[in-house]
Symmetry: C3
Subunit: 347 residues, 3 copies
Amino acid sequence: MSADARFFGHAGPLSLTTIAAAVSGAFDGDPERCFSGVASLEAATSQEVSFCEAPRYAAALRATRAGVVLVTHALAGQVPPGCVAIICASPSAAFGKVALLFHPRPVPQGRIHPTAVVAPDAVIGEGTEIGPMSVIGAGARIGEGCLIGPLVTVGPGVVLGKGCILHSHASISHAICAEGVVLHPGARVGQEGFGFTLAPDGRFETAPQLGLVEIGRGVEIGANSCVDRGALVNTVLGEGTRLDNLVQVGHNVRTGRGCIMVAQVGVSGSTVMGDYVSAGGQAGFSGHLSIGDRARIGAQSGVITDLPARAEVFGTPAAPIREVFRSLQVLKRLTAESRHVRKREAE
Amino acid sequence: MSADARFFGHAGPLSLTTIAAAVSGAFDGDPERCFSGVASLEAATSQEVSFCEAPRYAAALRATRAGVVLVTHALAGQVPPGCVAIICASPSAAFGKVALLFHPRPVPQGRIHPTAVVAPDAVIGEGTEIGPMSVIGAGARIGEGCLIGPLVTVGPGVVLGKGCILHSHASISHAICAEGVVLHPGARVGQEGFGFTLAPDGRFETAPQLGLVEIGRGVEIGANSCVDRGALVNTVLGEGTRLDNLVQVGHNVRTGRGCIMVAQVGVSGSTVMGDYVSAGGQAGFSGHLSIGDRARIGAQSGVITDLPARAEVFGTPAAPIREVFRSLQVLKRLTAESRHVRKREAE
Amino acid sequence: MSADARFFGHAGPLSLTTIAAAVSGAFDGDPERCFSGVASLEAATSQEVSFCEAPRYAAALRATRAGVVLVTHALAGQVPPGCVAIICASPSAAFGKVALLFHPRPVPQGRIHPTAVVAPDAVIGEGTEIGPMSVIGAGARIGEGCLIGPLVTVGPGVVLGKGCILHSHASISHAICAEGVVLHPGARVGQEGFGFTLAPDGRFETAPQLGLVEIGRGVEIGANSCVDRGALVNTVLGEGTRLDNLVQVGHNVRTGRGCIMVAQVGVSGSTVMGDYVSAGGQAGFSGHLSIGDRARIGAQSGVITDLPARAEVFGTPAAPIREVFRSLQVLKRLTAESRHVRKREAE
């Protein structure tokens, strides 16, 4: 399957020289031969470029009908005859570059749709595109070359750096974003955090939520994910952090650089993470924790204590992953023994 | 309580003959007697139709003041005097049919609201209604008799079959839908999947997300749920699959026919399911798994291995449900014993 | 950090007399001295007001440079010299009041934006503001002084009491709200519940979803949370109940007064809660349960049985929290013993 032309832009055909140059890769073949797109090892035709990075895909590599394969040096010997091998240090990263050559990302058209409602004092950068029905609040400052989709709200005072992309239905308020931030459809940034006090009459009164959200360069926030603004300090997402869909980030949370939160992760208020922390799907963090650099939290884990750098935890409450699996083994053995005892007693 | 006329359309009154004919049910009563609506056993008046399917509701059945009850043959003897019994194989399904007679679903009015922004080359089927502020992209093809609510986006090139319903605030891009697909409010379909490679400078680069979402006939996607488009293959939801609210479906996932995902389920990328797989609320699946037909996954379970057809699993990591509960019993017993030992030692 | 004037309204400076009067607090200092805002103990300057409620923040209190601190009687002795102490029973609640003096909430401007689409027979209360692109359905009745943000939908027939706030992108249908209800961005209220029957041909047919959502006074529903309407009875959220972001409430659920559901909690259909039930993040409830007043459910717990009043549970399946932690201890000990046995056997 190559990319469907109804949905993706298309450039090309492109010569082997052009392709190899983009990935700084060595090859042995006709430099003028041209190719039309990218595809998986299984689906690629002789007109298409594919890639193979891991030895576990070696069988698919040997069977591919692709015209070109981006491969590591180690796997190059398994590229079938007639298929050109381009040797790369990281075939998957190289494949991403080649895919962008054939299917460049949409470029903002510098047009503000006539149905958009833009406050008179909002500042819109050169080349920025604003889609139908979007609403830009008073005093907002949007950088150059941003792409704001349809039905988006950018609240009063919000600052967006250059080249940000806000997909349809996203909303952002009370926030300052660096360059290249991406909000996927329906992402919610900057709303009030969940904090309140109990009044004497039994009613809850919302506590002051007077902080902002600070979003670093290249951060991406997934579809329908939520990032609340801070209470008395800011909520901060460090440079390059990526949130998948339906992730919850509470007020005052701070992440370092390059953190990864898989879908449906929840981070409670005031938890602070180092750099490159990763959390599997549906994992949760209590509030006010400190999580060290490069800690890895397994899917569905519930973290209720601070974690040191490079911790690898799993389970609820989260514990070192080896211990958790050892305990599961022990429990399994005890359960099996218990059955034997019962059987013997019944005899 | 009968349905509130401010919110639901209303037909009737309807005669016993009409009602019984709709459900092919046998009855013994005045065929011309008329009824005004539907209600639960507890709330129904003598003007209303109710139903009873399960023996556990027999007491409510005996006490009902409903005018008509749809019942199984087995329960017919417990219908109180003065109440007409209509005998049906499946009273709950029959009740659904009768409810639709009294409260027909809204019918699309074939009107494109003047505030909608429809691309000049989009094709809109006969009788399709498009609500205020909705945005239909270039080259989209929308079938006959669809109902597109307010503030919806249909991206460029998207194809919708006949009779699809897109509720308010839904978004769909990079997708091909069969007939009768329903997106509930705020559902997100077709956005980029969560895939990236690590560049040498420590930045993440998004991997190509060049696939689509293929949605089968009659699929329903709940409020604020997310279905990402494929990377190099398509994400596929098989005919009749139903996702509840806040469900996450990653890129390249494939479900068979009639799968059921209760609220807040998460399915990681490239997992493939057979037909009629069901997952309880907040269950999660790792990526690249194969789940057999009619497997049943308990609420909050975390599936990290392939599952055979008709597996019934629970827990994290998910295991056969009997084993899990047996282990919980064993652990409970050991915990109780441990307390006894401590008590004795303390004496 | 004081609140950023680009994002938050600002009143003041305010005198010590005004501040102390708002919180009915006693103080010893120059009643005419003026202050400019609020901040945390760590960030406050001599122009700002802070608070300290818990002894664990005593060190921060002693080090603060705040001009005023709201404190309990017990902590008053630790307020540093030069800083005015205002003695209050509940410093955190008092701080909320002072913050509102300096940063009053936005007041609805009584203006219907010209791009909003309001049905001719909708009734809009005095002073209510409706933002750009919002859609108000036929027969809706919106009370006085409501604030409806941009891109909101209020469905036909919906009733909103006085002073409700619907943030951007929220949707509400099939619902009756009391005064002061708040929907945060992207909240979904009133959509169809997840109920269906299996037809003989293997297709699912949606069961009648003919109930409404009833929302009590002062209820708040978080960003992208979902509350489905009832099937044959109403879904009810009792007065003062607060849902955080991404919470799911199924059809027919009823909560009492003042219930708290932290982010990503899921409540299955027909479960009924008493007053002041609280559920930690990502907790789940099976359907048809009865949960007693003031029950406390730990984060990520899975409740599958009824709970008595004041129960404190944890884990999946949820059990009394002490038992769960005792079992975890026992398992940990057994696991450690198992390692010793293996080590000895290996020697």
